[in-house]
Symmetry: C2
Subunit: 111 residues, 2 copies
DNA sequence: CTTAAGACCTAGAAGTTCTAAGTATGTGGA
DNA sequence: TCCACATACTTAGAACTTCTAGGTCTTAAG
């Protein structure tokens, strides 16, 4: 019962933006949060998320700031931008549209 | 407002299997049916679908049979297999899981 | 000093679909 | 007859991703 990688890919940016829309965070923690939520569905590796974060930053949907934690360790915090919020909304809407389409096609009665 | 290609990719096999689960059909028509359903969401090109059909056949989820239409033209009809129905069900379930996850993450209240 | 966990990064492999073409047949009009 | 168009299928190569698999550095714990 292996998970469809395309679905993972399709949901990645929405999940990242969704998480960061609530609270700023840093890569390592984002991975953990998502994996917790995803539980048995899939498990992100770290290498999966960093390139995504970089890409979203380059697109202007996130901005970053290095911060020192209490522990003395440095973390790269990601903040969602206004543009990021708009993108999140538009992508959520698109997700919804696809979801409706799939339901319509898969469940539509014979004939 | 360009459509997320990953979402297209993630939904493709479900849509194809879903359509063929109702009635056998051939590539050219499947493209038309899906584009009709998808309306303004996206538009499949023929080149998009044929490789997908070939792949699903290779995986044993579809089987094919050449048939001559009334028009005298030959068509390659695709039939869903038992394995295909199982795959459809499992992929639909997975789609559902991702949908729930996205909703949970994106809509969950602050904190 | 050694190990483990926290935290970040990237090159290259692997896997897709899309683009953009091509082939071939039947229909209908001139 | 000849041309144009819709039907119908196919594939090579480009473009785009993520995943794999490794690496670096720091702090904490023993």
């Amino acid at each position: 019962m292996k998970t469809d990688k395309e679905l993972i890919g399709a949901s990645t940016s929405i999940l990242v933006l969704g998480i960061l829309a609530k609270d700023p965070s840093y890569g390592y923690e984002v991975v953990k949060r998502v994996n917790q939520e995803a539980e048995n569905l899939f498990e992100w590796q770290e290498g999966t998320i960093y390139p995504v974060l970089h890409k979203l930053e380059k697109e202007g949907l996130l901005r970053t700031q290095w911060q020192e934690a209490n522990t003395g360790r440095k973390r790269k915090y990601y903040y969602i931008t206004e543009q990021g919020r708009e993108a999140l909304q538009s992508r959520s809407a698109q997700w919804q549209s696809f979801n409706s389409l799939v339901h319509r096609v898969v469940e539509m009665p014979h004939g």
